[in-house]
Every structure is written in structure tokens, then in C-alpha cells.
Symmetry: C2
Subunit: 613 residues, 2 copies
């Protein structure tokens, strides 16, 4: 396309952005208009993408990290012939695929954006897949705003991309100098961004983002640079092309005041249809697994930490399946992903201490068809909460495994204890939350989670725990195990993970005192086994939950919710970590928090007394 | 102190680190030994601190961002005479103040550390307090590991510190080249760190971290640099001084194999007592408020968004109290903290789109005696989850206000909707969670939260809502309001925020159908009003909760928990956002999520029918 035509296409994208937002009565046309020329050049000359086959593994990936510029993205889709003008004007309406911020309800959107600073870290995951796994020369193009460069997650990604020499990754920064509230820190000082990026090892190019020839040359150069990622840093004006809004504060996130006049000022509607280059014909290099899953097997009566079982099971899963990859946040010796790394080094990704990049890379890898397991301490996964939340909006299938859960880690103290992780993961839409208590159960659940939808979380424990299940026992997701049951049970104790063993000890003591109790291992915290809980409630009338977690959002809440459908409820009580822990041995911690066998037995007695009297 | 003596002090700190970890049987002596000379020089020559008066506002602030080097910190305290040798050897024991990672149970620790990458952002908050508010020339010294430089939060702080010209902030990076699992990305390449920091505008100094003279000169220069923060980037060796562990992998986080031999190799125990310089005598420049709180007053029957009421109330609170400050994540026009900014620009802190820095700055400011209110969209506060969790370990008193809660924001879609925030904040130890439904209630709660302990969260709504309370109504934290009540109520509807208005509409419709219901406004989600819920349960036998939040961790869970103490339970049912929202108008969103008046009325009928039949 000639440069005049490219400029025309840019104007069309502006006009369509204005029209879409005007039809919606909301949206971000001015943030779209600044990047319109960048987008036009990218679409017409550089993107290699088959809109008829969005699943083609050789397609480039285009991530609008500035997701609020969705009108521009949808205008691009129209220019490429992927959507028609009628659909464009459904923007932001009930039932439309063209949401306020892009989501994968559109087949050409890999991941949802709208929480700023996430596009580049996710793009790093995709570029890693292309370079290290698929060996496909697709490019990853990330369009970023300038405001979002303030997010630390961007700099985790900048560091990671340079370290991994991701030369197929291009960051395009739309430096329109105005954030939502007003000027950015650096305004139009392009070199402020370039200096920082170069210091991390990036190749940088500074351009006038409204000069299509300059942009075209920059993108061409970006595609030729070897061994390092490139940032095209483009000076632009927000609301470019319409004097009533151009480069003015207070024009963020609203339709133009007079859309008709603006469209006229932009030269009126155009209907350029752009031919987009096809991706090359290639085949992904996917390692074949053995197809035979040989999970580790542990003998009942021995002791093993569930984190160890996780590491060994993950390594076995990696042998059986060529699509499984592992990531870690520089604690693989603690989480035990080092077992996977040892056997499958080519499918292991060290993300260093950067949990946002860790989760984002997993999201990027799954978008390319891989099955990622990302691990850190359960406590530190909270660092990536916003990425986990957005993974759910992205309909991403990722496995996250948090180790060192709860006070039972002992001496290290509260900063290292995952005590909010169950609450965080339960509240994620469509999530699965698993919490095994022994090594065989862990191994089975690690394998089972691979094929689920959505965000899957598994919680492991630092210390050794008795193996109570045989290696051939089945643990369906959504199920539970009744470990003790009699016809005369006077209460039910629901536990998971480390508290299962405390509950069993308490049950022994209670039995000796003539109080038989039912013990349920609630290894599937979400979805929860409503039927088994119902049976237990019917049989015993009262349920005590006990968890190595704060009282809110965890097992106690999950059990109460299981009965919250209007039917008569059993009596409920819960034991959880209610005080701020300090340092102590694991046993002292469980005791001090009131979640050990002694506390369980005492609580059951109180609960049972209420029935008697 | 002569340089030979400084070196001796360094050895003493090593010996004491080894002894403390040996006594504990766990801990991080090797990570302490690398930084021992840096710490010795700092304590003896540069820190200005009155250990007998840790509340002295002129004291320097010392943050061990590498909190796992706690043995070194405690060895410093011993050298300064703040603790004795006996206490040093209680390290990591039950009941000891010397926890595995430092917490403010020790009077000289401002903030807890142990989640890496948090020290510098919190230090930025303290340096901002010193420079912009207190006008006290105290220095903020942050000791950081090299591994934690991978955390994005560090780079948010690096950017912010340079932009704010925080010349009283010194970052000391202990580049010992070994992380937990193995080598860092940059090893001993000091310039890799220096290049990056300089690109952001920092002054940098590279030194041999075991050369006390060089370190001394670097700290002296750091204290003299104007208009920019300084980083002292020190090459060190992990486990320095003991051949069995020095510069070796696999020695992280464990006592030395032979402590006695190590102590001998280090020259044996020493008992140097260090005189620490006193801080200058100064008075903090604290603005006096008027002392008269004139909250905004809204007329019942009008409409006003709770976010607007928050902004106006915060501005009024800032007039009444000189210690109140506001921070925002570049969305002050949305959260309405711009109202505060307009009236009190000197006490407003723009943190740009960097939510980790936003919350960390609040933590730093409160450590200096200020009362911060930090705001962003509720959804984006998840970005700072780990900082909020650590704020609780720090016993920090901070106010966080999240706007644009729930699906009711409308067209912008799920990326912008806070649907997990109640779950996140409820699970924080010692937190308070408030969710007002009208403008007068908001104003009262904004004022009330200022004086509470711990992490306080208030959730605001984007759209206008009817004012249903008079401006003189009281709303005690931990209370609720019964908005409708009769002697014949057949069910209770518990709502908060936007769903209160839906519940009232539903109650009207139900009353017309002959089904009187009680309506409770649960504005205090944590602590929850157990007594009122009990009364309602006793009177009506069943409770329906309805919330603009995911079903997990929010109001439904809070109400169920209120009854989870073993007593007979009412029947419970809950309405919440169970599907993934897309774009739609606010009304369409409430309807599609099944949390509007129509859904409430239908759910109540189902609940009541169960009693009848």
C-alpha cells in the first residue's frame, strides 16, 4: 500500500473509532485516534495473520495492551474484513462481541486486556512459546499506552524479554502524552522511554507516530533486529485529527462532543478493505510425550511432603505429555518444580522473582496451546492477583501451584505463609481450587487439573505428611473423601490438606471419649462436594471445618456456601487462623492458631454439647 | 570508628548471624554475611537513630527489604545495644520478638519485610513524608538483595523516587550474585543494575561491598547528592568469610553446617558496642487542621454517586485534620480524590498507574504518622494484594478506597469491574470492610475509618444512587441498618451498596404480593453485625443475601460466617455475580447477573415457598 493509502487507512480507523463510540455513547475514541496510523501501518504492511483461521499457529499475535483503545481494534477488524460495519456499531451493547475492552469472545483476541501493563508480560509468554517451543517465526506485536509504562509488571517483562533475547517481540508505545487524568510523567520525551528500555538491553526506535513512512520503516527494522526485542516509541497526539479534542486534557474515555463534525473533519467515512499478509506455512515443533502417565506412587504409612509429590508428578506428566510446561519464580528448589526442570529443561521457564511475569507467561503460553504449571509460594501468588483475575476474563486455562501454605511452614513467619490464597482463588470466576493432604492424592490431582477449564489452583504444604491413600485411589475434581464414618457419628469434621491429619488424630481422641465423628477430606475446595456434605449434615446435624488459612474465604466459607440454597442448614462452626502468627515450630504454630487435633477435639465437644443440652 | 574497627564490627555481625541461625536451627546466615560490612559501616558512621526513642520523628529509617537477612538486622540491634545477646539467641523461637523475618513487634522495625521487592516502594513513601510533609532531613536507607531487583514493584519505586527527586533515599543493593535457587540474571555485573537505575535518573555508585573504606565513602557521597536518589551497588559474596559456604550454591536459607568452626574462622565472638549517631533535634511541620469536620450533607430523595461523596468527604476530612493525606493511581477524576487534591494539593500524592507503589507509599506514610487514603478502581487494587497482605503483617493503619465496584459500572466490561475485592479484603487479618449505599453513609464511614486499626477498605460505586439516609444518621463500624421491618416479615434480604436499592424495590413488589420482608443494609461487611442478623434470623427464619460481587468471599460468606458458631442456622440463599459479564448498561448488567429487584423478588418467593410447603 502506498503511503498516501496508509494515511487514508489511518483516517478510516479514526472515523470508525469515532462512529463506534458515538453509537455506544461511551468508549475511548481519543485513545484510539492517537494510535490509528501505527495500527494502519501494522495491519497493511507487517501483520501476518489469517483472519479466516485464527487458530493457525503461524499467525502473528497482536495484543492491544491499551485495551481501552478497543474502537481502534474493532476498526482494524472491519478494515481486514473480519467484521462488518453493522457489527462495528454494536460496540458495547448487550450481546455484542465488541466489548468495552477486548476479550476472547472474539476469535482474533488471544487474551483480554483492560487492566494496563499486562499486554507486554503476556506477549513475553507468547514470544517464549514461539522461540523456545514452537520454533515458529511468528511475531508478537504489543500496542501499549505510555501511561501504563509506570506499571512494574511492564518492567518485569522488559527485563525478561531482553534476557531471553526475544527478537520476535515488538513493543509499540503510543506516546500520546496524556493519561486518563492528565499528562504522563514523561510527556513527549520519547528518549525517557528509550533510555530505560536500552538500559535493559532493548533495541529502540523513536518515530513520529503520525508519519506512516517513518512508522513503516521502524516496523521493518524491528522485524530485522536479531537477539533482542525492539520498542518502537512513537510520538502521537491523543484525539489526533479533530481539533475539538486533539492533545487536550479532559477528553479521555468519552465519545467526541460532535461526532458528525469530527467525521467530516477527518474526511468522512471510508471503506478501504485491507489485504492482510498470510502467515507462512509451517508446522509447530511439538514434542511428543510417551502417552503413558507414570505418576509417582507412595506407600501408605510413609511420610512425604505434598510439594515433593507435586514436583515428581509434574515431571511424570511432562514425560507423558509433550504439551506440559513448567514455570517458576526463582524458588524451584522450594516448590519442587526443579524435578520437572531436571527431566525437561527445554520446557522449564525460570521467571526469577517476578510473579506477575510468571503468571502472565503462563497465560501467554496457554494462548499458544501449551499447558502451563506455574509455581511459587502460595503467599507470593497474591503478587499476581490482577493477572489471575484477568486470566479468567481471558478464558485462559492455567495451572497455578502455591507451596508453603499456612502457618504450618513454621519459623519463617507470616510474610511467607499463604493464608489468603484460598480466598483469592475461590473468588476467581470459573476457578478450580484443590488442596491435597497426601502425596498420592497430590499426584492424582496434579494430573487431573491439566485438562480442566479456567484457572486451576493447587495448594501444597511444606512439611512431611503421612501417606493415607493408596496410589490407585481416585480423586475426582468436585469430590471428597469420607475418611471416618459410623452409624453413630455425632459431628462431622471437614478438613483439607494438613488439617486432615489433625482431624484424624482428634477423631481418635474423641472416639476414646465415646464421641464418634465423621471426618471428610475436602480436597476439592471448589467445586465443593455438596452431596457428601449433605449426607454428613443429615447424619450428624453439625459440621466443624478446620483450615490452615484465615477464617474468611476458605474452607469454612465453601462449606457454608454448599448449604446456601435455601434448605435447612446444619449447625456450623469453624476453626481457622484468627491471630497474626509469629515464628514457632510447625506444631507450635498449629497449636497457637487453634487448628491442631487438640483444638478440633475441644471444638467438637462444644458443638456436640449444644445438641445434648 | 577506624576502618579496622569497622571491619571487626562486620565480622561480629557475621558471627552473631551465624550464632542466631545456629541457635534457631533455621534462618538465612549466608544472606546476612554478604551484607555485614555494608551494615557495619551504615550503623557506625551513617545511621542517625535513637534506639531509646524509636518514635523520634527525626530518626533515619532503615528498611531491610531483604527481610530474610533478619539475623544481620538483629545482630545490628545487639551491636547498638538495643537487644542483648540472650535475646539474640531466641531468634525464631515461639514468643520471641526476633521473628524469621522482621516485623514491627520490634520497636525499631517500621514495616514488616520478607516478601521481596517491597522495601524500596515503602521507603519511597517514607522519603515522600520527609521531603514533602514533615520537612525533616531524615534519611531512608533501604537494604535490598539483588534477586529482588526482578520485582516490578522495585521499578515502580525507582521511577517514582527519581521523579520526586527523593535525595534523602538511598538504596543499598547487596549484589551477592546468588538467589535462593542459584545465580541471579546479572551475577556480579554491577553495571547492569547501575545502567538501569541511571536511565531512570538515579545517581549510582559501584563498590566492593567488603571494602569498608569504599563503602564508607559511597554512603558519604550518597548523603550529599542533591535532587536525586542514590543507589550504592555493592559486589559481595554470599556467606562471606566462611570457606565452607562462601559464594556457593545450595547454601541459601539454612544454618551453617559447622557453626563452631565457622565462628572460629571468622575470628571468634566479639562484643563491640557501637555508638549510633543521634538524630538532629527538629520539629515535624505538621499542618494543623481546623478541628471542625464539616462533612458534605445530601438531601434524602436526591441522587448522588457514593464515589462523589467519598471525594467530598475526604476533602472535608483533610480540612479538619492536618494529618490526612490522599494518594491516587492516576484515576483521581474517577475515584474523586481530585476533590481532595484541589483543596489540599500539598497533601495529595499522584502515584500514576502503579498500584503497588500506591499502596506501599500509603504504608510508608502511615509509618511516619500520617493517615493515608489511597484510591484506585476496586479491580486494580488486586494489583497490590501482596502489599495489602504485608501491610497487615506490618500492623499498618491504611485506608484503601476502591471505586467502580461490580457489574453496575456497565459498558466498560469485566476488566474494570471489582468483583473480587470484598473477598480479598475480608481475608486480610484485622481488616475492616465497608460498603456504603448512599452519599451520607459514605461520608460518615470515610470519617470513621480514619481512626481504626489495620487495613481499612471502603468500596464505592460509579453510578448515582438515591440518598436514603439523612445527613445526621450514625453508622457505627460493625453495625447495620434495618431499613424495612414488620412483625410479619417472612424473609430477610441482606444487601449492601448498590443492591440495597434493588432490595428496597423488591420489597415493595413483594409487599404488594402480600409477602412482607425485612431489609438489612449491611454496610459493615467486616466486622459484621451478628446481633442484627440474629434478630432477623429469629424473626424470619431465612436470609437472602444479594451482592454485586462474585459469590465467594463477599457478603454471602460474611453472613453465613456470622452464624458459624455452632448455633442453629437460618436457611440461607445468595444472589451474586455467577457468570462472566460483558458490556451492557448498568441496569442490564444487574439484570443479567440476577442481582436486581426482579431477581431478588423471585428468590424471596422461592425461599418463602419452602417454608409454606
Amino acid at each position: 500500500m502506498r503511503y498516501e493509502e496508509l494515511a487514508e487507512l489511518g483516517q478510516q480507523l479514526r472515523v470508525d473509532s469515532v462512529r463506534a463510540a458515538d453509537a455506544a455513547g461511551s468508549g475511548h475514541p481519543t485513545s484510539s485516534m492517537s494510535a490509528a496510523d501505527l495500527a494502519a501501518v501494522l495491519l497493511a504492511h507487517h501483520l501476518r495473520y489469517d483472519f479466516d483461521d485464527p487458530g493457525n499457529p503461524a499467525n502473528d499475535h497482536l495484543i492491544f495492551s491499551k485495551g481501552h483503545a478497543s474502537p481502534l481494534l474493532y476498526a482494524l477488524y472491519k478494515a481486514a474484513g473480519a467484521i462488518d460495519d453493522e457489527e462495528l456499531l454494536t460496540f458495547r451493547r448487550l450481546g455484542s462481541r465488541l466489548e468495552g475492552h477486548p476479550t476472547p469472545t472474539l476469535p482474533w483476541v488471544d487474551v483480554a486486556t483492560g487492566s494496563l501493563g499486562q499486554g507486554l508480560p503476556v506477549g513475553v509468554g507468547m514470544a517464549l512459546a514461539g522461540k523456545r517451543l514452537d520454533r515458529i517465526p511468528y511475531r508478537v506485536w504489543v500496542l501499549s499506552g505510555d501511561s501504563e509504562m509506570a506499571e512494574g509488571s511492564v518492567w518485569e517483562a522488559v527485563e525478561h524479554a531482553a534476557f531471553e533475547q526475544l527478537d520476535h517481540l515488538t513493543l509499540v508505545i503510543d506516546v500520546n502524552r496524556l493519561g486518563q487524568r492528565g499528562p504522563t510523567r514523561h510527556g513527549h520525551d520519547l528518549d525517557a522511554y528509550a533510555r530505560r528500555l536500552r538500559a535493559f538491553g532493548w533495541h529502540t526506535l523513536e518515530v513520529d507516530g503520525h508519519d506512516v513512512e517513518a512508522v513503516d520503516k521502524a516496523f521493518t527494522e524491528a522485524a530485522q533486529v536479531q537477539d533482542r526485542p525492539t520498542a518502537v516509541i512513537a510520538a502521537t497526539f491523543k484525539g489526533r485529527g479533530v481539533a475539538a479534542v486533539e492533545d487536550q486534557e479532559g477528553k479521555h474515555g468519552k465519545p467526541l462532543p460532535d461526532a458528525d463534525a469530527a467525521i467530516e473533519e477527518l474526511g468522512g467515512p471510508r471503506f478501504v478493505r485491507t489485504e492482510v499478509q498470510s502467515p507462512p506455512t509451517v508446522r509447530a515443533q511439538r514434542a511428543e510425550g510417551t502417552g503413558r502417565l507414570e505418576l509417582p506412587r507412595y506407600d501408605t504409612g510413609t511420610e512425604e511432603a505434598t510439594r515433593n509429590a507435586y514436583g515428581h508428578a509434574l515431571a511424570a506428566l511432562g514425560s507423558a505429555r509433550g504439551d506440559v510446561v513448567a514455570l517458576d519464580g526463582e524458588v524451584s528448589d522450594s516448590t519442587r518444580t526443579e524435578y520437572f526442570k531436571k527431566e525437561h529443561p527445554d520446557r522449564f521457564f525460570e521467571c526469577y522473582i517476578a510473579e506477575q511475569q510468571l503468571v502472565a507467561a503462563a497465560v501467554g503460553l496457554q494462548a499458544c496451546g501449551w499447558v502451563p504449571y506455574a509455581s511459587s509460594f502460595a503467599a507470593f501468588l497474591t503478587r499476581a492477583h490482577d493477572f489471575i483475575r484477568m486470566a479468567s476474563v481471558s478464558r485462559a486455562g492455567i495451572n497455578l501451584v502455591g507451596s508453603h501454605a499456612g502457618v504450618s511452614i513454621g519459623q519463617d513467619g507470616p510474610s511467607q505463609m499463604g493464608l489468603e490464597d484460598l480466598a483469592m482463588f475461590r473468588a476467581v470466576h470459573g476457578s478450580t481450587v484443590l488442596y491435597p493432604c497426601d502425596a498420592n492424592q497430590t499426584a492424582r490431582l496434579v494430573a487431573a487439573m491439566a485438562d480442566l477449564d479456567g484457572v486451576r489452583y493447587l495448594r501444597t504444604t511444606r512439611g512431611e505428611a503421612p501417606v493415607i491413600y493408596g496410589p490407585d485411589e481416585a480423586f475426582p475434581v468436585g469430590g471428597s473423601k469420607v475418611l471416618l464414618r459410623s452409624d453413630h457419628d455425632r459431628a462431622t469434621v471437614v478438613a483439607a490438606g494438613i488439617t486432615v491429619h489433625e482431624a484424624l488424630r482428634a477423631a481418635d481422641a474423641l472416639a476414646a471419649d465415646g464421641i464418634p465423628v465423621r471426618v471428610v477430606d475436602l480436597y476439592s475446595v471448589k467445586p465443593v462436594d455438596v452431596d457428601t456434605l449433605n449426607d454428613a449434615a443429615g447424619a450428624t446435624g453439625c459440621i466443624l471445618t478446620v483450615e490452615d488459612h484465615h477464617p474468611e474465604g476458605g474452607i469454612g466459607d465453601a462449606v457454608a456456601d454448599a448449604f446456601s440454597d435455601g434448605r435447612p442448614m446444619p449447625r456450623l462452626a469453624r476453626l481457622a487462623v484468627r491471630s497474626m502468627p509469629a515464628s514457632a515450630t510447625p506444631g507450635e504454630q498449629l497449636h497457637a492458631s487453634g487448628i491442631d487435633a487438640e483444638a478440633i477435639a475441644a471444638a467438637v465437644k462444644l458443638l456436640v454439647e449444644r445438641v445434648v443440652h
